[in-house]
Symmetry: C2
Subunit: 474 residues, 2 copies
């Protein structure tokens, strides 16, 4: 297996300047000052928290409805101009870059909570709403949307990257929490992929076709989401371990025992140091598990007791509880800020994000080998992970102006992905493919599966206008 | 909306006799006495528990490996002969019929439990293993596979119909419990759709493309399944209600309260009467909820108490507990036998199965209207349902030799489906489309979504050899 084989250069051509000028005119006629072409705004729309180079689109347009999205897509399709949906710009693998130029469709004006059905535990939203905005608006219903990738991402973006995050170990990923989508397909049609029924066997699963498709098959314009009752009791805390392996083993036993833990996160000692500095905390600078239980009062108490026994068995220290809601928020905010905290470990450096995921039985081994690899190469690379799913992040901090460092980080990333795939894992648990992970798909899926993915792309988007140059490429 | 519009006659032609003779020769040369062409066996392979007419395949072949399946598919593809995968023959909508003849690929010799990974809560199986066989073989591991459609279906069949059943309210459907598949596609390629990682964002969701595809896009030859720990405590029982509406309202409040009930099944008084007669039970002949709790000892006790309070509020009687494992098995066996029990209500009649699913807030209303409809038309049509998901079965008992009765049942089915779709539900919660539900897909999904389904079928299976005449037709 040679996952490092470079992707062949894309076949797609950039639209010529005349097409773009003509399209700008048409869009401006129709959408007025909701069409923006200033360089700063265009660059901001290709910007993601990534180390990949910025490739701005030619035009940014802000639609206000599915019909307007369809209109934009039709105008672009007629000229074979790329269309790149934009939510909040928090993706990590260059998903929003415009390697062939084109139109960034910024969905931030489409952020309505269209309907809440508390009795059915579901709601309907537009794609631009962010997860925090959604939960803010849901507060009075006693319900919440649990998927939490850390960043305050848009729900459209979360659908498109098949996001998960800290709560996935209990509540699943976006794949499990989307009931139906409305999608504008490359020909400008509006497709509704499902109903509000909790389950259906009525034909192909169009919903899951678009969840995780990263805008390469269409633009999501409406989402029906499952909601969950805010638990009667929540308790969160931390536990220190002498080694990452001990912490990992405690996690493995917890998951195997079926304990319905809501969050179980690992920070290694390097990551804890970064978090303490950034978030002004005084966490013990050892490998650490952060955890949270959801349930009834009695249920949460029972879970905590069992988990305590497991941690003790793997040399975990005493639990420190974050009992008040504010303490809990502070703890999770610190967890969510690890990206920014990590950058502080090496001022001037960029973070090379990763998110491999392996079967949990291989997690301790995968982490140990990865830490050894980091040490051998003298890198600064904190580790944090949604370890209940077998998913973790290593972020080497790299001075991009030093080609030797960049090369070292790339080689490290190749080894990390090869290690995960060899352990029956995946090159990306939750960030998605974007541009950054394209080169690993063949090694992970094999030629037949990748061929089938290419066939899907080619059939649904024959002119390759939807976010071209991502996932299966041009 | 006119869901009753007939499907246009299929364009596909039956292969000519010479092709079939030639293919029979080739297959026999290769597979010897694992090729069967006797009429009785062929009819048995088109047989399902359905009222639809039997359309036998031309040939039945029993492969022993994925490579053999691929060989068969290539031989058929070369002659454009249909291929219809066969598990146990328990589907309900004519999924196994061969309207254009062809080869039934009987997977019953491929029933190995290939690997169990207790530490990862997963296993790998061949498609022919049945759910009871699987759970039997898993017993010593302390793990089980929860999806239970009633019939002792094969796992390949369950994947292909996106099966669910009594446990889905707690454990999800097949969509949620398949980690990866190996599939032979129409060109004879072998595609692996995923890894053993619990989650992945590495490209299009090929797994969910094949789950629920009813063999129309390929033949599943290996399945990686999620497993669950056998709960420490299980308790099951029944509760009588004066009306179906009361029972339904109790279910709705239970689900809304987030109570993690493992099973919650409704039988109406007609169904209970049938069950009592067939399974020699003495259940009270009123609307009845059958339920089961899974958890720790304390957790199960707490759930039962809360559920008791809810039932009391909706005029439910006292719980009768099935405390011993044998009593529990007897109760669930009786539930699983409702199809056969119902036939006993009208000897000589056939059952017209249905399985609409609606948002739970509409369930009481949908059931009430349906019961009124049954009464108005003087039909015998017991109702049983996985009501925690909003999914229920009505089975009119029909003398097929009486055209007026058949017409009445068909009209009833149209009204039932129209009612469910009007309530934002689906024409099939778990049985699948097969031949029986094809005519409802346009009303449910709309032209654009149905067009996209057709595009998927046409792209992946351009020669229409995979189970033709099902889901989106020929």
């Amino acid at each position: 297996m040679n996952v490092a084989t470079p992707i062949r250069p894309a076949q797609r051509l950039r639209p010529d300047e005349a097409s773009i000028a003509d399209l700008t005119g048409e869009l401006t006629k129709r959408f007025g000052n909701r069409v923006v072409t200033s360089l700063a705004v265009r660059q901001q729309h290709a910007h993601t928290t990534t180390w990949l180079a910025n490739q701005p689109p030619d035009i940014v347009v802000l639609p206000e409805s599915a019909e307007e999205v369809a209109e934009i897509v039709r105008l672009c399709a007629a000229r074979r101009v790329p269309v790149i949906p934009f939510g909040t710009g928090t993706s990590l693998e260059g998903h929003l870059n415009a390697p062939f130029g084109g139109v960034s469709v910024d969905l931030s004006l489409m952020k309505r909570l269209v309907a809440v059905h508390p009795e059915d535990l579901d709601c309907v939203v537009e794609p631009g709403i962010t997860r925090k905005e959604l939960n803010e608006q849901l507060r009075d219903t006693g319900l919440f949307f649990p998927i939490d990738p850390g960043a305050d991402a848009s729900l459209g973006g979360m659908v498109s990257t098949r996001a998960s995050g800290t709560n996935a170990v209990r509540y699943g990923t976006m794949k499990d929490n989307v009931l139906a989508l409305t999608v504008v397909t490359p020909d400008g049609s509006v497709v509704k992929t499902g109903t509000r029924a909790r389950k259906s066997s009525a034909g192909y699963d169009l919903t899951r076709l678009f969840v995780g498709a990263e805008g390469t098959l269409g633009i999501v314009t409406e989402i029906t989401l499952k909601l969950h009752g805010i638990p009667e009791a929540i308790s969160a805390g931390i536990c220190s371990f002498p080694t990452v392996k001990d912490a990992c083993d405690a996690v493995i036993v917890t998951i195997q025992s079926g304990l319905p833990i809501a969050r179980i996160e690992l920070l290694d000692e390097v990551q804890v140091r970064a978090v303490n500095a950034y978030s002004r905390l005084t966490l013990p600078e050892t490998p650490l598990l952060l955890f949270e239980f959801h349930g009834t009062d009695a249920g949460v108490k029972e879970q905590a007791e069992r988990f305590g026994e497991i941690c003790a068995e793997y040399r975990g220290g005493n639990f420190e509880w974050a009992t008040r809601a504010e303490e809990r928020s502070r703890l999770w905010q610190a967890r969510h800020d690890v990206y920014w905290a990590s950058l502080g470990l090496r001022p001037g450096a960029k973070g090379v994000a990763s998110d491999v995921c392996v079967p949990i039985s291989r997690l301790a081994e995968c982490l140990a080998e990865t830490k050894r690899d980091i040490e051998e190469h003298g890198m600064v690379a904190p580790i944090a992970g949604h370890v209940g799913d077998g998913n973790f992040h290593v972020m080497p901090l790299v001075m991009l102006e030093d080609p030797a460092e960049v090369r070292m980080a790339e080689d490290f990333m190749h080894r990390l992905v090869e290690r995960a795939i060899a352990m029956e894992g995946t090159c990306t648990g939750e960030h998605g493919v974007g541009q950054g992970k394209m080169k690993y798909l063949k090694a992970e899926h094999g030629e037949s599966a990748l061929g089938l993915m290419r066939l899907l792309k080619r059939s649904i988007d024959p002119d390759d206008i939807m976010n071209p140059g991502k996932i299966v490429g041009a």
